[in-house]
C-alpha cells in the first residue's frame, strides 16, 4: 500500500505480511533492519498444525526495501524464500521451497521440490514459476498440505484475498520477462 512516508510504507508492508501469516500461526515474526533494507523471518521454523493431526514446519524469509514513486513510498520485495519442511528422525527435511533471489546465480522465481524422477533427484532443479506471493503459498499449504487455518474460513479467506489483491495492485512485476523472450 503506498504511503506518505518511508516509515509508514515499512509498517504497512510488515503489518500486512504478518496478518497473512496469522492465518496459520500465532508465532512472533522477527525483523532485522539494516539501513533501508529489512528482513522478516522465522527462526526456529514454525510448527504448523495439520487437519490430519500431525505437524509440518514453515520457514519464511522476506527481504524488502522502500522505494519512492510519484511522491509516495511503497515497499518493494528484494527476495523471498517460502519453505515447507517435515520433521523426520528429529531432523527437518525440505518438502517444497519457493524462491526468488535475484542477487544470486538463478535470477528467476522458481520452486524446488523434494522427490525423485527417472533422471534423478529433483530437489536441486529450479522449476520456473511466476512470482509467488505469501498469500499464494499459504493457500497452497492449506489446500494441498492440509495445514489447519486458525481463524474461521470466512475470516482467513478475506485476509488472504485482500492482501493478495494489494500485492497484485502494487507489484512492480509479476512475471519474469526474460523467460518469455
Amino acid at each position: 500500500m503506498p504511503a506518505k512516508n518511508r516509515n509508514d510504507a515499512h509498517s504497512n508492508f510488515a503489518r500486512s505480511f504478518r496478518e497473512s501469516l496469522s492465518v496459520v500461526t500465532k508465532s512472533t515474526l522477527q525483523m532485522r533492519v539494516l539501513g533501508d533494507e529489512r528482513v522478516l523471518y522465522y527462526e526456529p521454523p514454525v510448527k504448523l498444525q495439520r487437519t490430519t493431526g500431525d505437524h509440518l514446519y514453515l520457514t519464511v524469509i522476506q527481504t524488502y526495501s522502500v522505494i519512492e514513486t510519484n511522491d509516495e513510498f511503497k515497499a518493494s520485495t528484494t527476495s523471498y524464500n517460502y519453505e515447507l519442511w517435515l520433521k523426520r528422525d528429529r531432523e527437518l527435511a525440505a518438502i517444497v521451497e519457493f524462491h526468488w533471489h535475484p542477487s544470486k546465480e538463478v535470477k528467476w522465481p522458481h520452486v524446488h521440490v523434494t522427490g525423485n524422477s527417472p533422471e534423478g533427484a529433483l530437489e536441486r532443479k529450479h522449476f520456473p514459476t511466476a512470482r509467488i506471493s505469501l498469500e499464494d503459498f499459504l493457500r497452497f499449504l492449506i489446500r494441498d498440505y492440509d495445514i489447519k487455518a486458525l481463524p474461521p474460513y470466512a475470516t482467513w479467506k478475506e485476509i488472504l484475498t485482500r492482501n493478495k489483491r494489494e500485492f497484485v495492485t502494487n507489484a512492480s512485476w509479476l512475471y519474469y520477462e526474460p523467460l518469455i523472450s
Binding site: 516509515n7 509498517s11 510488515a14 503489518r15 504478518r18 501469516l21 496469522s22 500465532k26 512472533t28 515474526l29 522477527q30 525483523m31 532485522r32 533492519v33 539494516l34 539501513g35 533494507e37 528482513v39 522478516l40 523471518y41 527462526e43 526456529p44 520457514t59 524469509i61 527481504t63 527476495s79 524464500n81 519453505e83 527437518l92 527435511a93 525440505a94 521451497e97 524462491h99 533471489h101 544470486k104 546465480e105 538463478v106 524446488h112 523434494t114 530437489e123 536441486r124 529450479h126
Partner: protein, 81 residues
C-alpha cells in the same frame, strides 16, 4: 530501541546480536557448522553458487548473511558514499 509508534503486533525487531544468534542456530541445523563459520566461508567465496543450491536451506542462510552487518557500520558506510 524502536519507537513505540513503530511497533507492530506480532513482529519483534531483533538486535545485531540476536540476529547473529538466529543465523548460528540455522547454520547448525542446516549445515552443521556455526554461524560465524558459515559467514567466513560465504564471505571468502569458498561456497560457490552450486554449493548454495546443493542442500535445502543453504541459500536462505546466504540471504540472511547480508543482514549480519552492524547497523552503525552500515550508517557510516552510507555517509561515506
Amino acid at each position: 530501541m524502536p519507537k513505540a509508534k513503530n511497533r507492530i503486533v506480532g513482529i519483534k525487531i531483533v538486535s545485531a546480536a540476536g540476529f547473529r544468534k538466529a543465523l548460528d542456530s540455522r547454520a547448525r541445523r542446516v549445515l552443521g557448522v556455526s554461524g560465524s563459520e558459515f559467514i567466513k566461508r560465504y564471505s571468502s567465496g569458498s561456497l560457490g553458487p552450486r554449493s548454495l543450491d546443493r542442500k535445502p536451506g543453504t541459500l536462505a542462510l546466504a540471504t540472511l548473511c547480508s543482514f549480519t552487518k552492524d547497523q552503525s557500520a552500515s550508517k557510516k558506510q552510507k555517509r561515506r558514499t
